[in-house]
């Protein structure tokens, strides 16, 4: 989803116009997954498949969050451990640990997540902009947020930033 769509959705909620504010149309779908206690999401158009963790071949001379490469039906795909990428402690892989493979502008990567949760609709009324945070590191990868029931918040990742940022 483009940033313009998000801005528009946020603006609608905040506008005085009741009709606009009540607009709760579906903008798309996200797949949600857990990392620790937090629920994250990725819009489904970027997701190609979900696979279990198999043997990952290490590759030398890459940052530590790139765990290596795997063979997904004869395609060689690099694997990023989201935990390490976000600076969270590494935990051993369990039966729930999954690799979500993404495709963004023909760049394929897999990300390791603790467990996959759900696929749900994005409603206009639930969107919140990502907090403006001067601390660049933490919210760099969050494009926007979705408010759920019981005051939960799902952080939707910006795939472009996740894949594209340059290694310093």
């Amino acid at each position: 989803m483009t940033n313009d769509v998000i801005k528009e959705a946020v603006a609608k909620q905040q506008s005085g116009d009741r009709k606009l504010a009540a607009d709760n149309s579906i903008l798309g779908k996200v797949m949600t997954f857990n990392i620790g206690e937090q629920v994250y999401g990725i819009e489904i158009q970027y997701i190609t498949e979900i696979i279990g963790v198999s043997h990952i071949t290490k590759v030398p001379h890459v940052p530590n969050y790139i765990k290596g490469i795997i063979n997904v039906r004869s395609k060689v795909v690099p694997i990023i451990d989201i935990r390490i990428r976000f600076g969270k402690p590494e935990i051993p892989y369990t039966n729930h640990t999954c690799i979500i493979t993404l495709d963004f502008n023909d760049i394929a990567v897999g990300i390791i997540v603790d467990s996959v949760a759900d696929v749900e609709d994005i409603h206009t009324g639930d969107i919140s902009a990502a907090p403006e945070n001067k601390n660049v590191n933490t919210n760099d990868f969050i494009q926007y947020m979705i408010r759920g029931e019981n005051d939960t918040t799902k952080l939707i990742l910006d795939v472009a930033k996740l894949l594209d940022e340059q290694e310093a």
Partner: protein, 712 residues
């Protein structure tokens, strides 16, 4: 700036393909005939035809400047053709036509690079005025020597004579073009031009096809009526009409009854007589060859282009009809896809055959079936490989042209010898070799061959220099040698320069002559004081080296001062499948290309030497090799760290050798090389000794060692 006309994009591919191959043909003819400084009548006809086709198709595509240029060149050749006996000196024509061909290539490239966008329309005014001048010059020469009659009259006279001899009546033919082929009027015009030279009398209707686009409609509705009488062979003209591009069918509407019962009588009767005019005979245009083209709706533009080329051939050779069937142009992307699939089949096959579930089972019929499968897949692989193989001749021919130009510009008398141009290599390799070879040829011409003929005479060499470009096959590699018998490389000069540029990495005295010569391959190295049009900017030799190495090749300089220089390029036949030795380090599997391995062996602790800084080395048959521990190099955890527990592999690349230390050998396997995923390309993996990866029989991934960067 100009834009490609909307609706024309679909035909662009075909246009580029056709025009480029015609230009190449033109170059070839010119190079062949230049030596004799005279055109054979067949050659002139051929050039004329090429110019015609280019003119017509350029006009059709809306590239007016190109069309005008071809038109002027055609005019010039018209004069030459009509006065073959009078015009003797045509040497200045060659340069002119080469210029035309170059301008064409440049403009086409500009258009190609901006498909969909705007492209710069080049200005050919200067060239066209040159062409006009040349034509006038030829004209005056012709009319001066010949009868006072002007050329037109002369041509008319000359062509009526054989006509009378041939004895032919007028014949009318109604031509129908393929449905939906567009631009019928220009196609008709092209057709007229094709047959014009064979006809003593020629009329056609509608008559304004060249200028009036509206005439297309009439042609579509009623066909294109041509009335002609042949110079000598009417069947030949009919054949030309029949094989012309996009002609669907034609019918003879009037003419002779006395026609010999040759081809037409034997041919099957027509299926579609579109308009029942006073029809005498109709026939279906092309018998077998064109049928598949119509029935196959796939990739029409390419097939059409193919047909165009086949057409060109058809007019050259009598056996043209057969060629249509035996050649087909295929999009390279499709071949790549096929190649990938075959690679995957081979991987999957070994996954099945060496499946761990089968271990320890006695499976007699399975083993037999597996063996058959293996045989078939390896045949499949060979066939796919051979499809991608193209001869080096295409690249070599282009060098011919470069040598010719430089010979003139530099005023050096050089004989250019080509050998082994029929040797084949993978298409992608041949493509990537063009630039390096071109650069080396230029270097040899510019720096290699002596500037002053006197220098050659003093050195006891023949006045005429020799530049040799040869290719040969040897054990899975193609060896391309570019050699000259010029001044050779002066090692002292190189050393001086290298010292000044701070390119030396060890004390001067330790450099062997071979090493000094190979210094010229380093970036930023150019000893030529004078930067010329052709070479000497210092970029180049290192780019040559990088290009060659990109296709896993190597380049060696071998030169002797005063005797000459050889550049030797070695490249593998194909890129994608290599024989590899699998080794393990910790839990990682690496693949070492077998071609780089000299030997593998176990060591005893007492064989190990250490230098002052503690680097390990080993002495083998009197030569000392450094030891490279893989687990240290790639930061892998392994239990085997004592040299005597693991295994050493002596590998060599680029004349440098090293012993790599691994845990153990697994065995030999053919592997399909896959590049690292795009996402990883930003990291420095490739320069650290890994060239790619491969998927092994059990589905796991092995990393392929690049001995070149591993050592360097």
């Amino acid at each position: 700036m100009a834009k490609i006309e909307p609706g024309m994009e679909a035909m662009l591919d075909m246009y580029f393909f056709e025009t480029n191959s015609l230009l190449e043909q033109l170059d070839e003819i010119l190079l062949r005939t230049e030596q004799a400084n005279a055109f054979e009548s067949d050659d002139i006809k051929e050039i004329f035809r090429i110019m015609h086709t280019i003119k017509g198709s350029s006009a059709m595509m809306g590239f007016d400047n190109l069309s005008v240029l071809a038109h002027k060149a055609e005019d010039m050749f018209f004069v030459i053709r009509e006065n073959p006996d009078v015009i003797t000196d045509v040497s200045f024509v060659y340069d002119l036509v080469f210029q035309v061909s170059d301008s064409y290539k440049a403009q086409i490239e500009a258009i190609q690079n901006n498909i969909g966008g705007e492209y710069e329309q080049m200005d050919f005014d200067e060239l066209t005025s040159k062409l006009i001048k040349a034509r006038d010059k030829l004209n005056s020469e012709a009319s001066g020597d010949a009868a006072p009659a002007d050329t037109e009259a002369a041509s008319a006279a000359s062509s009526t004579a054989p006509a009378a001899a041939g004895g032919s009546d007028k014949i009318s033919v109604r031509v129908f073009f393929e449905e939906g082929c567009q631009m019928e009027n220009l196609r008709a015009f092209l057709l007229i031009n094709t047959i014009r030279e064979e006809c003593s009398f020629l009329e056609f209707s509608p008559a304004d096809v060249e200028t009036n686009a509206e005439s297309s409609k009439e042609i579509v509705d009623h066909g294109f009526l041509i009335t002609f009488s042949a110079n000598d062979d009417r069947d030949y003209i009919l054949k030309q009409i029949e094989t012309a591009l996009n002609v669907q069918s034609y019918e003879v509407v009037s003419g002779d009854e006395a026609k010999p019962a040759g081809t037409e009588a034997a041919a099957p009767k027509a299926e579609i007589p579109p308009e029942p005019v006073k029809e005498i005979k109709t026939e279906k245009t092309s018998p077998a060859p064109k049928a598949p083209e119509k029935s196959k709706p796939t990739d029409q533009s390419i097939e059409k282009a193919q047909a165009a080329v086949a057409n060109a051939n058809a007019q050259q050779a009598a056996s043209g009809g057969a060629q249509k069937q035996s050649l087909i142009s295929v999009n390279l992307a499709k071949l790549d896809a096929l190649h990938d699939i075959v690679g995957e089949i081979i991987t999957t096959e070994s996954m099945v055959i060496s499946n761990p579930d089968l271990e320890g089972l006695e499976l007699e019929s399975f083993t037999k079936a597996a063996r058959d499968l293996k045989k078939l897949t390896s045949e499949l692989q060979d066939t796919v490989m051979s499809i991608r193989m193209v001869p080096l001749a295409g690249v070599f021919q282009k060098m011919n042209r470069i040598v010719r130009d430089m010979r003139k510009k530099l005023n050096k008398d050089v004989e250019f010898v080509m050998e082994g141009e029929d040797i084949e290599a993978d298409k992608s390799i041949v493509d990537s070799l063009q630039d390096p070879i071109m650069h080396l040829v230029r270097n040899c011409m510019d720096h290699g061959i002596e500037d002053d003929v006197q220098d050659r005479i003093y050195a006891g060499k023949p006045e005429k220099g020799t530049l040799r470009l040869s290719a040969q096959n040897s054990s899975g590699e193609v060896i391309i040698t570019i050699s000259d018998d010029g001044a050779g490389i002066d090692p002292d000069k190189i050393m001086d320069k290298a010292k000044r540029m701070n390119l030396l990495t060890k004390p001067e005295s330790e450099y062997s002559e071979k090493e000094i010569q190979n210094l010229i391959l380093l970036p930023g190295f150019s000893t030529n004081e004078q930067v010329t049009e052709f070479s000497g900017r210092g970029v180049g030799m290192d780019v040559v080296k990088a290009n060659v190495e990109k296709c896993n090749g190597t380049i060696i300089v071998d030169s002797k001062k005063g005797v000459g220089t050889n550049f030797i390029i070695k490249i593998p036949l194909t890129l994608a499948i290599i024989d590899g030795m699998e080794i393990t380090v910790g839990d990682l599997v690496f693949t070492v290309p077998i071609s780089t391995i000299h030997e593998s062996f176990k060591v005893e602790p007492e064989q190990i030497l250490r230098d002052t800084s503690g680097n390990e080395m080993i002495m083998i048959r009197g030569v000392c090799y450094p030891i490279l521990r893989m687990h240290e190099k790639f930061g892998i955890d392994t239990e085997i760290t004592d040299l005597q527990d693991g295994i050493l592999l002596l590998v060599e690349s680029n004349n440098k050798s090293v012993c790599i230390f691994a845990d153990k050998l697994i065995g030999e396997q053919q592997v399909v090389v896959k590049p690292f995923p795009k996402y990883l390309s930003r990291y420095n993996i490739k320069s650290e000794g890994l060239s790619g990866c491969t998927i092994m029989g059990d589905g796991s991934i092995s990393l392929i060692i690049d001995t070149n960067t591993l050592i360097g």
